[in-house]
Symmetry: C2
Subunit: 543 residues, 2 copies
Amino acid sequence: MPRWDTRRRAKAERIAAGRTCADDKVVDRHRLVDLLHAVIRPGDRVVLEGDNQKQADFLSRSLAGCDPIRLHDLHMLIPSVSRAEHLDLFDRGIATALDLAYAGPQSVRIAQMVDDGVVRIGAIHTYIELYARMFADLAPDVALLCAERADRDGNLYTGPNTEDTPTLAEAVAFHDGVVIVQTNEIVDAEKLPRVDIPGSWIDFVVTADRPYALEPLFTRDPRRIGELDILKAMIAIRGVYERHQVMSLNHGVGYDTAAIELILPTYGESLGLKGKIARHWALNPHPTLIPAIESGWVASIHSFGGEPGMERYTAARPDVFFTGADGSLRSNRALAQLVGQYAVDMFIGSSLQIDRDANSSTVTDGRLAGFGGAPNLGHDPHGRRHPSPAWLDLAHGQSAGRRGRKLVVQIAKTFRTGGVPTFVETLDALDGGRRAGMPLPPVMIYGDDVSHVVTEEGVAYLYKAHSLADRRAALAAVAGVTPVGRLARRTEALRRDGLVAFPQDLGVDTRLATRSLLAARGIDDLVAWSGGLYDPPPRFRDW
Amino acid sequence: MPRWDTRRRAKAERIAAGRTCADDKVVDRHRLVDLLHAVIRPGDRVVLEGDNQKQADFLSRSLAGCDPIRLHDLHMLIPSVSRAEHLDLFDRGIATALDLAYAGPQSVRIAQMVDDGVVRIGAIHTYIELYARMFADLAPDVALLCAERADRDGNLYTGPNTEDTPTLAEAVAFHDGVVIVQTNEIVDAEKLPRVDIPGSWIDFVVTADRPYALEPLFTRDPRRIGELDILKAMIAIRGVYERHQVMSLNHGVGYDTAAIELILPTYGESLGLKGKIARHWALNPHPTLIPAIESGWVASIHSFGGEPGMERYTAARPDVFFTGADGSLRSNRALAQLVGQYAVDMFIGSSLQIDRDANSSTVTDGRLAGFGGAPNLGHDPHGRRHPSPAWLDLAHGQSAGRRGRKLVVQIAKTFRTGGVPTFVETLDALDGGRRAGMPLPPVMIYGDDVSHVVTEEGVAYLYKAHSLADRRAALAAVAGVTPVGRLARRTEALRRDGLVAFPQDLGVDTRLATRSLLAARGIDDLVAWSGGLYDPPPRFRDW
């Protein structure tokens, strides 16, 4: 007689064992390591909430402090490997296998540990791909998650930084895994501003020794925006946003896209584009978007996560931001990814390296940085069916095969700081992937999904090319004197046919590309635009 | 001084108006129409929960009974237009605009009403695309949703039929819309088996006059499976599942895929494939999968929705199904769609009409059926990055561009009942789309995303074709004597090159294709396999 409830029985046993270190669901902070020893078993698949921004760091530090004799061979699922102790787990022998989506902050060390055989990587995913596998072949046994507040029944308030938590909790709670959550404080039920995740999904809560770690990844100081960024921004606005009537979009976090955000209220306004472009956004609360919001450019923003310092501002702009009944921001990475794939016309992001076919990667040398969300946002989803002017403007195919296309725009300087070419013959990712034993090169965005490339030289309208030769020639035409740009041919014909546009073709006056075009030239200006509602983190303050 | 909280103030006013018909959140059932008049305003964007299966029918009937003098010009967002009163809203002048994903049950009437100018369609979406737009340019003012039980604080238990509810609730609750929920009963908090959606997201609850409507869309009676379905199933198992080692997958709801489910424990077992294929599924709880589950074929199933009659069975098989702390199924369409796109190797579904380029559509004549979820599941997501043997087996591209591919399989008889050819020169969808004023033909799955076509003639391995001519020839080779099949050329060469395989090429003994191969030949057999846990709806019982 087969058993069909092995997971449920295992969960009941683990919870019974854990209850010895807890008062019902509430764990004594000083007994957290005991609880982890009691609840987790060698070989378990364990989700650890390292998100893009927030980190369940009390849990990760405590897990790294467990006894490797008792707890070993764990298979970790970590969306973002962000902290040293995420890798200490492997050095100490507590964990051996890792599935992840992103490892930006730990990319050098993780590459070395893979080389050394200390970390055995299952696969590098995108965020939503890793979540998806938790509902399929990677069902976790235990989740170690992070919230702002909890009550004694485990009801959670995640506040502005919800990010991945509801999705990770759902995968584990609804397949008989054990869910353990660190919170900044445990309060009476009536003191929870709202409930983001119901207590019936949560098995244990513990008050952390200090508030969870949170990184301001989406704050770009306008002082670091240079004139080439502003020129690219002007070219993008005229050559892409205006031309295709892009109403809904997602921005990456480069200084060039920050420049676009900061010249909407100046340059964009002078072109009469307010209300005609860039109304609906899928985006973390970028501080550099404050001037455009205050100037009435932005109708709505749905967010993957929050941003430190933007809490009071987002709460004061509920018409624009998604907020809860308590007034504070609601973010949700899984849903924002759906928005970024299916509801917006355009993704535009910077890239460190682009090859002649427009394949791009952020892997550049001895680093294993992972994918994050860019591959999902930066492709043309063939499952989209609703039309919009921008999407139809790129329509292609004949008869039954005719359909629109998402704008996937790469924006880059032809040369990075230090004179390193952005456009290269071969992506470093090929070598990097080979060394890490990956079956395929870790390409972030595939060239055949890229519709436009914007540089300080102009725009390549790759989607218009009818042949690979034309595509390559159009890209080369905006690649400056890089190895790829030196292959430029027939540029005048490409301009005439509309595959390439230079600033003069777009009516972009390059003399205007100065910092005086920025609606804010420093963090202090952003604070002023916000009416004092934006509270920049200390590292961004110097006044 | 601009205001930034117009939505929040409007919500507060609406709730204050609604409270006159309610005891705090609990609405007097007999005053529901008064509440709708008080809370909804002319011109509002209103989400109405018509899901694929469950229907907020007390709310939709009550809304259709409102006074069109007081309530008019509503813009309805309805995932699945399933019920007559969904369209009565337009006939009565209460609503004028509609955004939807699917309208299968109402497809003829809606086509007529669009023709007559009574319904103005914004766009026809896929499910997740429509949800996504609710977080962008289609933010709703009011949601009318459906749950099984609620407490007086609005905490909801959606039970096995969660489907779209959490996603719709999130879109509205977190952008200052009003959320109104019908429930089968309102109980004390401690009598909620679990909380699926927190009460702080919900503004009003009302006990419905009868339990919400629910359709058993995923029940296929094995008696209706014919020998051609069984032959196709055998061909698919050998030519696709076995050949590519397909471990994770999604099935459509045709009789042919039901046949595959039912011959896994017989034919699949005889081939020694148990444990080697079809372990992880994204799928509603199909009753026809019971024999495979009971025979140990299935490791996990994550579900878009539930299935009437499968409640006790899914609750008794928690190792396989996702279930809550209370033991009952947890479904979630948005997350299951992520699983179906990013975690599984294969989508296989039936199609009513396929053209020579393998474009397919379920639109066949004077019907406007919409898209549902098939376009999302039935495309190759370019945002996937983790490898699997099946995905890598279809790898294509060179150097940095090299990547795997999802198996997107169309399975069909060459002729439908009544001698109507499945393979046609031109999809009816072209004409249908034109008549409905759609800017593009309503194609369900684009041919260039289709990797395989399976018919009773054999398998066309379209992904192997290097030219359009080869693709068409491969498809024609399995299209029988249909208009497309009559164009077959060079079939022997295609077989030699592996672009086409006939049953004899696959080692499929066509003489075995009889109903005796089915592990269950009727609904009663499924009940027996389930040990009496499956309770088929009355319409499927005749013993």
